[in-house]
Amino acid sequence: MDEVLEIFLEDCNDQLQLLEDALITMQNIDDPSKLSDDKESINTIFRAMHTIKGSAGMFGFFDIVTFAHAAEDLLDAAREDTITVSPDMLDLFLVSKDHLEKLIEAETNEQKLDDENVNIGIELLKKLHSFMPGHEDSKEEESKQEETVEKINEEKKKERVEDILKWHISIRFEKDFFTTGMSINSIFNFLNKMGTITTNTPILYNIPSIENLNPLTPYIGFELILEADVSKDEIEDVFEFVYDDVNLSILLFEDSDNFEDINTLIEIRQEEKLKQTLIDANFYPAQVFISTTQSEKNQKTVVTIPKDIEPEKEINIPQEQVQQKEPQETIQKESVKESQSEVPTTAKKKPASMLRVDSSKIDLLINYMSEIVIENSKILSLVEENANHGDTINNNNSDLEESAQKMRELLEFVRDGIMDIRMIQVGDSFNKFRRIVNDTSKKIGKDVEFVISGGDTELDKTVVERISDPLVHMLRNSIDHGVEIPQDRIAKGKPAKGRVDLRAYPDSGTIVIEIQDDGKGLDKERILAKAIENGQVQVGANLSDSQIYKLIFEAGLSTAEKVSDISGRGVGMDVVRRNIEDLRGTIDIESEIDVGSKIAIRLPLTLAVIDGFLVQVGETKYIIPLDSIQECIELTKKEQNSMKGNNFINLRGDMLPIMDVRKLLQEQQSNSQRENIVIVHFGEKMVGLLVDELLGEHQTVIKPLGPVFENIDGISGGSILGSGEIALIFDIARLIEKSI
């Protein structure tokens, strides 16, 4: 996609999110009669719609403009209190927001909307119009609704000639304008839709000769006369998207002999030839231009839109002139006020310290980092080799070793720094769920309070993206199957309003995300019975509560009495589990009948590089993530013998389950004299891994093994050792699960 389109899309998405948040805030106001009082939200929604409309117009996306325009009219009426806001209206706006999203997606992908959606759009437009005041003659409204902006304007032009204003628009460009990629012609086209450009005089006298031309600098300018029934604001809006890179002046032609503004413009432009050009092009008769000395005497409010609006400077209207030239002044004042109020809300003005970075650039850096880590490993192992051979160049060797160690430290810092760039707060993603929770609850008649906490917890960008769908699914489940309908809740002595919590917090090298509800909890008996029925569990198997709850992730295990289309037939949860496992995460469930349920997802912090401990198991080397290691124990022959046949050892009084990794991985029984146990933990669980040899710490880049190995449980990737050999990386979470 075009870079400019991408920015348009991102900006629209920002606006749409603001819009949605505000709508949901309004929906959560319990007393419907108070809705119209929430002016802040109404204004937010209005401005968002307005911004989208303006940007869309820039690209010629007229379908979006028409739609946004209708919504905007309604919102404007709400702002002015000519209509009252009702819950129905809010619902309509939410649906409209969805439709707008589809329109924007279609346009940015250069696709057409399918017939179904086109019809939806038409229906929505009808409904939006129906809320407008003075809407009696429905037939007339209907036919108007189906017209495009062009037709609407044409009619306006025919019907209300007296309302057409004549504007002089003077356009110059800042030096970076061309690099924005914005097409000036598209601006002209749009202005021609709003009205008619009766004159377009390109300003060429600033263009240097070809030898002296800097091709990327805009020297060209334009002087336009636009006849249209629009306000100055509406013309400014057309340029909103390139605001910072355009030097715009908008003057209103008036019947009176008042021409101070044009002289001010001449002064500001500082272009010798401008005056004559305007005369030649019939903008103004020669007489209106006063000589330079005279114009200095006039202290007038500047009509031009400066780059950074400084409010104090704007309100500079000398008192006498206010009385004499009222109509024009009021327009100026109004627009000054408007532009002042626009400043703090323009979403695209981001704080100066932020950078928008293409995430593929970060990925590239991470790849380089990975290579560097491998090379450094090589250096370290070469250094060790030298040390082992007892080289006579001992001094150099220890220096070398020191250097290599230092490198390693530095690499860690840089690596951490790069990984940190990819970290984003989960809150942004979580916020998007508000709408879904809202819609879902309303749809099935549940009353739910949705509380998000720990939104500032950070996770790798990819992980956040991939965890989104599973979370949504589980939230839907909580609302659908967890929280009871208000009557039932009251009967149980609970508050009618249910509560769903979504929280995130860090915990010893992992991030935990919890979804908790105070609903009816999971019915162990039913789940177990269903699983036995499905053949997933043997009769008489002794499962812990935790294991029984986990059965809900097996395919086909929905115990819901009727299948609602919300969370379905029990097909979803196994996909959810798969998605989380792919992220090397685990899921745990706690539940109590009539009290509620809690699902906890644990995710590792980073994806690409981990510190590990190298061990030998049979013929292969394996790596255990350092984070998960509790301690290492060497088993003496005696201990080995006493252990024979048991799956656990006595660790300082506690029973520690043991996993013979060699057997698990079908390695030959090694002849190694030594056996070692590496005690690992994941969350609260611990297990001892029986391995042959301990080989030491090893910082490692996790490389995927590839699709051929995707079904292996217990191995999460590979790492290239300094020697070029490959070591396999244990998936501790999976191993621990297997051991229980």
């Binding site: 490389k703 995707e710 490959i726």
Partner: protein
């Protein structure tokens, strides 16, 4: 043997002559086979392979190719004709990011279209679905028909990724 890179984007090499396409010829288990050259990323000397547990027998493990981890398949075992004996001539052929163990590299050459026959009438040592066509090939003065391999079937990820049943 040096690493021989067949650059898939090298137009001059892969230009289809009016006669036929380019193929890569090699030996596995005593028989000669061919693969369309455009599917072959690279050939290299046999090197260390790290075993990966719980996989079917013909998946020998993984190997390190310039920092990337690639799965390794013993072609002969995939054909269920035994296990490749590792010798000095043993090589790895990279197809679709998977390394195949073969006995010996022969050459890259063109097979004329008229020399390609549909494979119905021949008796096969290997599963028919692994073969696209037969081709007439002369090597060392011996003319024979050899199998042009169907890499999609041989390297079908769904099959390859099945965990070995622990019975």
């Amino acid at each position: 043997m040096e690493n021989v890179n067949i650059d898939n984007h090298d137009e001059t090499l892969l230009e289809e002559s009016s006669a036929g396409k380019q193929y890569f010829f090699f030996k596995a288990g005593g028989d000669i086979y061919a693969i369309e050259a455009q599917y072959v990323n690279e050939m290299l000397e046999y090197q260390h392979i790290t075993k990966v547990p719980m996989m079917p027998n013909y998946i020998k493990g993984v190997t390190n190719i310039r920092g990337d981890i690639l799965a390794v398949v013993d072609l002969l075992e995939r054909f269920e004709l035994g296990t490749t004996e590792i010798s000095k001539k043993t090589a790895l052929v990279i197809v679709n990011d998977i390394a195949l163990i073969i006995d010996e590299v022969y050459e890259v050459n063109i097979i004329a279209d008229e020399d390609i026959k549909a494979s119905l009438d021949f008796g096969f040592k290997i599963k028919q679905r692994f073969i696209t066509n037969m081709a007439r090939y002369t090597s060392r003065d011996v003319e024979e028909y050899i199998a042009i391999l169907n890499c999609e079937e041989i390297l079908n990820i769904k099959e390859l990724s099945q965990i070995k049943d622990l019975s």
